[in-house]
């Protein structure tokens, strides 16, 4: 902070030399994470803008495409992600309280949920690509009135859920990283910023899915 006196020095091994206090360091790190998350908002925002514009232009085709989404895979995945968010939040809480064992266990459960999500997503992709030939490009097959526009719908589906899945993969990696360090006992009640920041990232990826779910799976009232 600009106006805080520079004198307070807690000799903490985690305090980097260019910060005056650990509090300043923590606040900087958390703020940095939030700034990073708004760049992520804009990153997905570009695709949401495209989605919105084409949905406006080709409303019927979007309904048609949505009927070929698998409602149950999408819904189950939503629940899986929400559960993972809960365990992530609890893991951060345990770290804050200095409960090493429970924080490691909760982080591991979060990883499992994340992998479950990716697994289900993989099965769903397999169905779309191999069984139904719905991947855009020369192999795209679709019987219906809006072939071209439905191909666009699937382009958005694969681009948006694909980037989301990529973020999930990165998220699983990050959670594994902090889980390892939590197991090593690096975090305690006075230093848990990495866990907190990874948690923020994880919740953000969850929020993206919270929007993707209705936009792809629920826009038509006829569900498969």
């Amino acid at each position: 902070m600009a106006d805080s006196p520079p004198a307070v020095v807690t000799h903490n091994p985690e305090l980097q030399h260019h910060f005056t206090t650990l509090e300043q360091q923590t606040e900087a790190a958390v703020m940095g994470m939030w700034v990073f998350l708004i760049t992520e908002i804009m990153f997905f925002g570009g695709m949401f803008a495209g989605y919105m514009i084409y949905r406006f232009m080709y409303y019927q085709a979007w309904l048609e495409g949505s009927q070929h989404m698998d409602f149950w895979y999408g819904s189950i995945n939503t629940v899986v992600l929400l559960c993972s968010s809960l365990t992530m939040a609890l893991a951060v809480r345990s770290t804050q309280l200095g409960l090493r064992r429970s924080s490691v266990v909760l982080l591991l459960i979060t990883i499992l949920f994340g992998l479950a999500f990716l697994g289900i997503k993989g099965v769903e992709y397999y169905g779309h690509i191999v069984d139904e030939h719905q991947f855009p490009g020369p192999s795209f097959r679709f019987a219906g009135a809006y072939t071209a526009q439905v191909e666009m719908f699937f382009s958005f589906y694969f681009a948006m859920t694909g980037f989301h899945a990529l973020h999930m993969v990165i998220g699983v990696g990050l959670v594994s990283f902090v889980a390892y360090h939590a197991w090593k006992g690096r975090y305690h009640a006075h230093y848990y910023t990495p866990v907190e920041n990874v948690g923020l990232y994880w919740h953000f990826v969850d929020i993206v899915w919270i929007y993707l779910y209705p936009l792809f799976y629920l826009i038509s009232h006829i569900h498969k």
Partner: protein, 333 residues
């Protein structure tokens, strides 16, 4: 000023070029004055207050009154420029009703024009003085841009839809036609000429061409050969809507929206028929994307437009505004 080797002002050959030049000259004077004022101030300050023995800077913090003055006055001037520019743009973007249509297909790297009378041209466009001309354009591949500097008009040509540029030529002559949007290797070779002719000469040019039918007749041929008429019956309602007189009219769609049946709508209904289905019909029409060429689409559009009881295109009503109108326009210069 207009020398051929070192021109400083582009030729003025359309009804809009005078008004555009007026705003340009206004801006030139305004910005020229601003430049002179600021440069003079800088030079005067730099000399007058140069560092020298015995001269000291006088501290000044700033002044809110001054700041607000030079915030609000420019803002006001900017609004005036905006309104003036927007007024011109509105004219450039809204073609008059009774215009002569030229269908244009741009492709890498060539301009193909077709008059409603049937004449085809490549990289050359003949038009008469004093007529409002609408250039209805689409691209076969990438984005191009139809640019005639002497007319002060430019309009990008997009794949997948029509864009329209319009102008009324006021001076006979041959003018540059440029592609102004980068379109690949031979972008700078995608140039041509716009030949503006006196109405009488234009008439003789028209009749001198090949003796093929009008664009609408070509369209009718395509219409019949593709079997469109089995569903789109002209006498009674078939499985598809009756196209008699549909052009320019509002159409109620299946999803409740209403659209105007303009060139773009007709075009989309041929290539992507399911996107905007007319109320009361089923999306059973197959797409003709990849089956008809851009030229054929143009012909079909011209044909459907010719089905209007009140003629719209010049093919039906060759009424020229005559030399009187063109003189009035030239006076604007």
């Amino acid at each position: 000023m207009f020398s051929n080797t070192f021109p400083l002002w582009p030729a003025r050959a359309s009804s809009i070029s005078g008004p555009v030049d007026a705003l340009f000259i206004f801006l030139l004077m305004l910005c020229g004055l601003m430049c002179i004022a600021i440069f003079t101030a800088i030079i005067v300050f730099a000399v007058r207050y140069r560092r020298r023995p015995g001269h000291e800077a006088i501290p000044i913090e700033g002044s809110n009154a001054v700041e607000f003055t030079w915030t609000l006055i420019p803002a006001g001037v900017f609004i005036i420029i905006f309104v003036w520019g927007a007024y011109l743009y509105f004219q450039e973007r809204t073609p008059p009703k009774d215009s002569m249509d030229v269908y244009t297909v741009a492709k890498q790297w060539m301009w193909k024009f077709q008059h409603t009378e049937g004449q085809r041209e490549i990289n050359e466009l003949h038009i008469p003085i004093g007529r409002d001309v609408r250039v209805i354009m689409t691209s076969q591949d990438v984005i191009h841009s139809f640019y005639v500097p002497a007319f002060r008009i430019k309009q990008d040509v997009l794949p997948g839809r029509y864009t329209i540029a319009w102008f009324r030529a006021t001076a006979a002559g041959t003018y540059h036609l440029f592609c102004a949007e980068y379109c690949g290797t031979n972008h700078s070779g995608m140039v041509g000429d716009v030949v503006v002719m006196e109405p009488a000469q234009y008439q003789s040019w028209l009749s001198g061409g090949q003796a093929m039918g009008s664009l609408a007749q070509t369209g009718q041929g395509v219409f019949d050969s593709l079997g469109c008429s089995t569903c789109h019956r002209m006498d009674t309602q078939g499985r598809g809507p009756n196209l008699m007189g549909v052009y320019g009219k509002p159409v109620l769609l299946e999803d409740g929206r209403t659209v105007i049946a303009d060139e773009n709508y007709i075009r989309e209904s041929i290539l992507n028929p399911a996107v905007k289905v007319v109320a009361g019909f089923k999306p059973i029409m197959p797409t003709f994307q990849g089956i008809v060429s851009e030229d054929q689409v143009n012909a079909l559009v011209a044909y459907i437009k010719s089905l209007n009881p009140q003629p719209v295109g010049p093919a039906e009503t060759p009424t020229f505004k005559g030399p009187a109108a063109s003189k009035a326009d030239t006076r604007q210069r």
